[in-house]
Structure formats: C-alpha cells, structure tokens
C-alpha cells in the first residue's frame, strides 16, 4: 500500500461515495426518436407503436443505452469543456484519464413516460501498473437507473483509468494530501 503513487488516502476515502440525479421530466418520445435517428438505428420499436406492439411491447421503447447517458438528468450549467453530466471530480494529479469500459445489465426497456433516476456510487479504486510499469488508478463506479416506480431498468458498471504522466513512478510520489 505504501507503494501507491496515485491512490492517496484522500482518494481512497471516497470509495462508497454516492450521487443521485432524477430527470426533471419523462424521457419523451421525441428524445427516443432523436437518439435512434442520431445513432442511425431504424428499429421501428423505438418510433412506431404498432411495430412495438407487434413485438410484444406495450408501445414504443427507448433504445437500451439511451438512459445511461447521465447528462439528460442535469439542469446545467455545462463546464468549461462543454460537459454537463455526472463526474466525481477526482483529483488525480499528473495523470491522464481514459475510459476503461462499461458493463450494462438491462432488466427492462424504458418507456417514453418513465422518469429516470440515476443512482451512482464509487465501488472501488485500485492502483495497478501498466505493462510498462507505469502506475494507473482504476476507478470502478456503478449506476443503477430506476423509473418512477423504483423498478430497476439498468445497472451500469463503469471503469475510469487514470494513468500517471510522471517520467518515473518515483517522481510522481509527491506528498499526498
């Protein structure tokens, strides 16, 4: 543990932190159609009630990954980079952030009249080394998306990877807060 370069005690103390965002209004059919159009997905279950019912659904549904974009639950303002969505604002000095990946587990489709809440939590932070020996901090977060009936629609486990930019691992080890 004393070998950790990026994972300071201050950062580690944030494991377990939570944040929740509830959309100000239902998803709406226009948002669903816009997303499908932007992706280029012509599946009619997103836009045509008849096609959706023929597929055994009650009516049009949202493309599964639409609700996992947290920006839509925010009311602003955007930050200087233009970003509006959820962030933990982790202070990892002298590092570069890249997205690791996502695991989505979908339990049902979201519907146009659903009001979504995203329940985020920091599940874990682990310091590892890249194949070249460079320290990296892997932050695992989880978001559970529920509707207005508290039914789970999706669970999203997401990893963010902060890779040290220090020339040598030792040089990055300046006193943690």
């Amino acid at each position: 543990m004393s070998d950790n370069v990026l994972l300071t005690d201050a950062l580690a103390s944030r494991i377990g932190e939570t944040a929740s965002y509830t959309a100000p209004e239902p998803i709406g059919r226009a948002s669903i159609r816009y997303f499908a159009l932007a992706v280029g997905d012509r599946n009619p279950v997103y836009t045509d009630d008849h096609a959706a019912r023929a597929a055994g659904l009650e009516g049009v549904v949202a493309p599964p990954t639409l609700i996992t974009e947290t920006n839509q639950y925010m009311t602003g303002p955007r930050d200087a980079d233009g970003f509006l969505g959820h962030s933990w604002h982790l202070d990892v000095p002298n590092s570069r952030l890249v997205r690791g990946g996502n695991t989505y587990e979908f339990t049902q489709y979201a519907r146009p009249d659903d009001v979504i809440t995203a329940h985020w939590s920091i599940v874990d932070m682990t310091e590892r080394r890249t194949s070249k020996g460079v320290p990296m901090l892997v932050v695992t977060s989880r978001a559970v998306y529920t509707n207005q009936r508290d039914q789970i629609i999706c669970t999203n486990t997401e990893t963010l990877v902060y890779t040290s930019l220090a020339p040598t691992p030792a040089a990055a080890s300046e006193g943690p807060a």
């Binding site: 932007a38 597929a55 974009e69 233009g82 690791g100």
Partner: protein, 141 residues
C-alpha cells in the same frame, strides 16, 4: 420459424458497418445532451494535441445493440452488454461491429444467446476500437 432458431454456436451475425462523420457526432452529442468539446471543437482539440474530433465511445454500445436486434428480430432483448475501449476513433472513420455466437441455452419459453463482440475500425488505419466485448440476448420462443 424465426431466424434466431437457425443460429448455432460459432455463427457470425451480419456485420454492421457505419461511417461516422462530424454531423453524426454532433447529432449524437445533442441526443445525449453531451456537449463536450472533445467531440467537435477544433481549437480545443488542437490545445490537447488531438488532430481530429473524437467519436463518443458510447455510440459503439448503441451500434452493438442495433446489430444484435437487427439480426435477432424485434422481440430480442439485450440483457447484458459488456465492452472495453481499446482505441479512440476519429471523425470520418468507418467502424464495423463483429459478433459471434458463443453459447446458446434453450428453455421452454426462451432462448438465451451469448456473443463475443468487437468493434473494429476499417480502412487505412485498421485497429480494434472496442474489445473485448460480449453480449447476452434473450429471445422469447
């Protein structure tokens, strides 16, 4: 009767290829309320030493869902989708979703199919964009 019952372990779904240009990225940014400059702002990109706008990686998840559902029909429900980002993809590049059946479990009322997936960039600078990736899809019988 339906296509899905003809699938077998080892079968590869029809690839889904898509060229993603700047207007498509702007549309996706709008549709997801994500106005991060990384996806469209030349001055911002230049300040970061990035030559071309970067495609939002989440769109590849949406494309994998599209490929699975287009291949398996409107009753198919994607229950699980897991992916890791391997390389950035830039405006104007063409990606292709490649998915192969790895497992198939039939019960009285459902068929559950597992897939190995990958999103690759095709063309001059071919590389893996997303992988490894996997999906589980449930089909009613």
């Amino acid at each position: 009767m339906s296509n899905e019952t003809r699938l077998q372990v080892g079968d590869r779904l029809p690839d889904l290829a898509r060229t993603i240009e700047l207007p498509d990225m702007v549309a996706y940014a709008g549709a997801t309320w994500d106005w991060h400059r990384l996806h469209y702002d030349p001055a911002y990109l230049a300040s970061k030493g990035i030559p071309t706008p970067v495609i939002d990686g989440q769109v590849f998840g949406a494309l994998l869902v599209e490929q699975l559902q287009d291949s398996l029909g409107p009753r198919a429900f994607v229950r699980r989708l897991e992916f890791r980002f391997k390389n950035l993809v830039f405006a104007g590049e063409t990606v292709s979703c490649v998915s192969t059946v790895t497992e198939m479990h039939e019960s009285d009322d459902t068929v559950v199919l597992s897939f190995d997936c990958e999103v690759v960039v095709v063309g001059d600078n071919a590389r893996v964009a997303v992988g490894p990736a996997s999906a589980v899809v449930v089909l009613p019988r």
